[in-house]
């Protein structure tokens, strides 16, 4: 058992996220740590290497705000919502500056976190044979299997300076429980030197310990715990609130126009003191529209020895 790691988002970002760091902000379409990313923008961090399997709107916003010089990723759009135009401007027109990118497939990127978490020198996978990706990214290399089945491609470990994840709940010591799509959060956390967890709710240790299978990131891997209700908006938290698909559609025209994107950052991030103020700006009516009806899991019994 460790003591309380509960802090504020401002303090957690101030302490753990410094200019020039490699920062993983994971969450595969779900539980994207938007509130933490927005706080990084508010604190005007610079020259970050951002790691995200799917950059999503969050990376587009971090880029617009001038926080990012390098991107490590495996998909460069925002799913059904279309293009991320700040990324495209940087890559296609070097406007306002080129963006250094390091590109993998989803499984390749996941294997990088796995190798990082396990402190392996590399991890093999069966992808890329015949693909141009290893030519585009010379960090995807090949090794001869020592067991005689030919060469396979390998990816190097990814060890972020800090990994930030959002989850449904954690206790004060950092035992973090998440459900639904769990993405690369667990390996990205174990791969990192420091881990910030933002949660919808900080719960009592008994709540966590009543369902230990739900803990994906134990307290020993966590450095800071921050309660940030709605912290994944405009992405979603399974069972809490749904994705704000209207915002995802709204971002396309905003990001298409760099001036509009800069104005959005000024109004919604620099213009709000913290995530609670951002949510207040969003309005109660919009938030109510994102609420989901309950669909409880039922419960299992872990049993205990009889007295």
């Amino acid at each position: 058992m460790s003591g309380s790691k509960v802090t504020t988002l401002r303090e957690a970002v101030t302490e753990h996220v410094r200019d020039g760091m490699t920062v993983a902000l994971e969450g595969f379409g779900h539980l994207i740590p938007f509130a933490a990313g927005h706080e990084i923008i508010r604190q005007r961090r610079r020259d970050l290497t951002v790691c995200r399997m799917t950059p999503d709107i969050l990376t587009d916003q971090l880029l617009v705000a001038g926080c990012v010089s390098r991107l490590v990723a495996s998909f460069f759009a925002s799913g059904s919502a279309g293009s991320l135009y700040e990324i495209r401007r940087r890559v296609e027109h070097h406007d306002p500056a080129p963006l250094e990118t390091e590109e993998y497939s989803h499984y390749g990127m996941y294997c990088r976190y796995e190798a990082g978490a396990k402190r392996l020198p590399f991890q093999p996978l069966l992808s890329y044979v015949g693909s141009d990706l290893p030519e585009l990214n010379p960090r995807i290399r090949a090794v001869e299997s020592p067991y005689g089945e030919g060469k396979v491609y390998v990816v190097p470990p990814l060890n972020p300076d800090v990994t930030v994840v959002h989850a449904q709940r954690a206790d004060a010591s950092g035992n973090t429980q998440l459900w639904g799509i769990t993405g690369a959060q667990a390996p990205a956390a174990y791969a990192a030197s420091a881990v910030i967890v933002t949660v919808e709710e900080v719960v009592a240790p008994e709540v966590v310990r009543a369902d230990p299978n739900r803990t994906l990131i134990p307290a020993h891997a966590v450095d800071a715990v921050v309660e940030v209700p709605g912290g994944a908006h405009p992405s979603y938290a399974q069972g809490c609130y749904d994705r704000d698909s209207a915002f995802y559609r709204e971002w396309t025209p905003i990001s298409r126009d760099r001036e509009a994107a800069l104005a959005w950052i000024d109004e919604w991030i620099h213009g709000t003191a913290d995530h609670a103020a951002y949510l207040a700006e969003l309005g109660q009516a919009r938030w109510e529209g994102l609420r989901v009806a309950p669909a409880p899991s039922g419960s299992v019994s872990y049993g205990r020895r009889k007295e």
Binding site: F28, S80, R88, H106, Y107, L126, D132, I181, R243, A295
Partner: protein
């Protein structure tokens, strides 16, 4: 693990008889199936409704389908409601056996999770399910597919200073290596979408993989089927090139072969694609994509 199984020949040929609809309503109406008398729709072949219906029919008889974003989402939903309720949907987000109550807006939508048969880690999904050989069909969108079935979803033009930066691999280059076969839906049928050779090979065909000597070869047969707004292209075998297997109603063979970046071969048995039933289109519009996210 052997590189030559499953037989792509078998995969390609089973696709034809599994097509749920006869080519026209006046064919052998002997088995009394109500579908044969079902009214047909006249939606144009380039419409999302038409392409989704054709794609849905390709899934009949397949067990486990790895679905991507966009038209594949519509097609797998329609397939479950029409040609094959038993199709098991797998998504790269870790969802296995999805039973969505509403149309998924993307592969990480919460509706895919609620009520699913399993919610796996991405390591289990890509490592055990996909790389372990449990996916029958990978269903992908693409910007370009070339003569031998290489897929480009990365860049158009120069790699370092591209004309268009596309989304990149996502799971596609992992899926093509290990799914038994790949079905691609293209929204365009012209030399840009169907070039002789892709500008960038994100997801390689087995023929291209074979040129990397000394490598453990991928198990998958690669792209077996490409559905376009003009017709259906198929590859006859693992290392072969795409051939015109069907044209959509109102499209001539010459139109379909003339607008491709290479000299497209025509199969001797080239067929006309059966029209969607009115019911297919109704399901797509009124029950599946009610918000018109993919049906525009």
């Amino acid at each position: 693990m052997t590189a030559d199984s499953p037989s792509p020949d078998g995969a390609a040929s089973t696709a034809e008889p599994s097509t749920a609809e006869p080519s026209t309503g006046d064919a052998t109406a002997t088995d009394g199936a109500t579908d044969r008398a079902a009214p047909l729709s006249d939606v144009p072949p380039h419409s999302a409704e038409f392409l989704a219906t054709v794609a849905a029919r390709e899934l009949a008889g397949r067990r486990r389908v790895f679905a991507g974003v966009g038209l594949p989402t519509l097609a797998v939903d329609l397939a479950r409601r029409t040609v094959d309720p038993g199709v098991e949907l797998v998504y790269e987000s870790g969802v296995v056996g999805a039973h969505p109550e509403a149309m998924a807006e993307g592969i990480a939508d919460s509706v895919l999770v609620s009520g699913a048969e399993a919610m796996l880690s991405m390591d289990a999904l890509f490592g055990y399910v996909l790389q372990g050989g449990h996916v029958d069909v990978g269903f992908l969108g693409a910007a370009q597919v070339d003569r031998i079935g290489n897929i480009n979803t990365s860049v158009i033009g120069d790699w370092q200073r591209p004309e268009v930066r596309l989304p990149g691999s996502g799971g596609a280059s992992d899926i093509i290596a290990s799914a038994r076969e790949i079905v691609v839906v293209l929204r365009r049928h012209d030399p840009h979408a169907l070039p002789a050779e892709v500008d960038f090979c994100t997801s390689p065909s087995p023929a291209r993989a074979r040129r990397r000597e000394g490598f453990h070869q991928p198990a998958g047969a690669g792209v077996t089927t490409v559905i376009t707004p003009l017709g259906i292209l198929r590859r006859p075998d693992r290392y072969g090139e795409l051939e015109l297997a069907a044209v959509h109603p109102g499209v001539t063979v010459a139109e379909a072969t003339g607008d491709v970046g290479w000299d497209l071969r025509v199969r001797a048995d080239v067929a006309e694609t059966p029209r969607p039933r009115a019911e297919d289109v109704r399901l797509l519009r009124e029950e599946i994509d009610t918000v018109r996210l993919y049906l525009r």
